[in-house]
Symmetry: C2
Subunit: 98 residues, 2 copies
Amino acid sequence: MNKFGDLIRSKREEQEMLLRHLSAQLDMDTAMLSKIERGEKTVKREHIETLAKLFKLDCNYLFSLWLADQVFQLVENEKQALQALKIAEKELKINNET
Amino acid sequence: MNKFGDLIRSKREEQEMLLRHLSAQLDMDTAMLSKIERGEKTVKREHIETLAKLFKLDCNYLFSLWLADQVFQLVENEKQALQALKIAEKELKINNET
DNA sequence: ATTAATTTGTCTATTTTTGACAAACGTATT
DNA sequence: AATACGTTTGTCAAAAATAGACAAATTAAT
């Protein structure tokens, strides 16, 4: 799963931007951006806002995709992945209430 | 949240073991085990099975606690934590089906 | 106060991640 | 086929994160 990168790529292509155009705005080289779009690397937190503004996306939503990708990476390939997520989620809810 | 460490500690105390007894079995010093039980450090994967056997716990369950703690650490303090978990979970389910 | 158990802090070694750069690849155009 | 352009891949050094040994401090018990 690479929802973040996929979205950025689709938005970029939608606007007919090249890697080099966007990478310049993010102050990185095209190779890096390419890797980010394909989920091989992760963009820095600070870049999320920039990207959201650029593509008129909801910043919180974009951030949640970014975070979800990282969670996914952590648990994918694990047999107990779903169970672990459920446990974490439950705990999170408890903490939010109190 | 530190479900893994809490469980180990409670099991250890239940059996009136000292840190030094358990730490010897895990081939680490007491300081390290102390940190693990309090969630300051994470135990190595290989240790999970040892611990499960020692305390007669379900290895898969213990592993899922261990993983959940790591997921939790990743998202705690994030406003979008729950949303991110939901997204990851959804994706996980899709992947499991196919 | 002494001893025992646990916790905390510090410091080095190891591992992991980052990102720049160059080279390779694919595709279209001439 | 050769060139040009966009993208991807590989490599490598620097930087950051983590691990874990050890010592010292803290807490608790006798």
